[in-house]
């Protein structure tokens, strides 16, 4: 194989890897947003996602998966900042309520009731947000 051929093969492989990586990132990137947009899932004041009604086993599995990842991130940050996991999770909920619950999407305050965001009206912040 000539040097030029080798270079071309290497470049092709590199391109395939970048494209694959981008596609993978795209799928993973939208998981939480897609679940919220579906209306089957909402954000809770405790910093975790919750199933709004009776969702399919597949949706529940996806929510569990995301919550496991969230808990891992919360645990990490809590140990770095001398806070409890619950405090980091609750602080995250404040930001999620303010920036990630879109119009028509669901949120759940500490009263346990699922509510739907009405148009572009602001989502009420949980009491612990200050």
């Amino acid at each position: 194989m000539s040097r030029r051929m080798k270079l071309m093969v290497a470049a092709g492989l590199g391109l395939a890897m970048v494209a694959g990586g981008t596609a993978y990132a795209f799928v993973v990137q939208d998981a939480a947003a897609e679940l919220r947009a579906s209306g089957a899932v909402g954000e809770q004041a405790d910093g975790y996602m919750g199933v709004v009604g009776s969702a399919s086993a597949d949706v529940r599995a996806q929510v569990d998966q995301i919550n496991i990842q969230r808990r891992a991130r919360y645990t990490e940050l809590a140990s770095q900042r001398g806070a409890t996991i619950e405090e980091v999770a609750a602080a995250t909920a404040c930001q999620l309520f303010a920036t990630r619950v879109g119009p028509g999407q669901y949120y759940r305050l500490p009263d346990g009731v699922w509510r739907r965001r009405n148009g572009s009206e602001p989502v009420p912040r949980p009491g612990h947000c200050g």
Binding site: D30, G50, I66, I68, Q69, A83, T84, T92, R100, L109
Partner: protein, 61 residues
Amino acid sequence: MGRIGKVTAAAAALLPMGGCVEVTAPERPIEINLNINIRQEVVVRLQEDVRELIQQNPGVF
């Protein structure tokens, strides 16, 4: 055995039963508890950190 002795013996016999607590494994791995005990000043202090956390973990948040 006197009366006090009988009462004491009965109480001693009942004690182990009272101490028996049934423990079952939870069905779900993560319990979502909305009645959380948190310090508000800590939550406020963490806002910048969690903003970064959300931005750095798309798909999870």
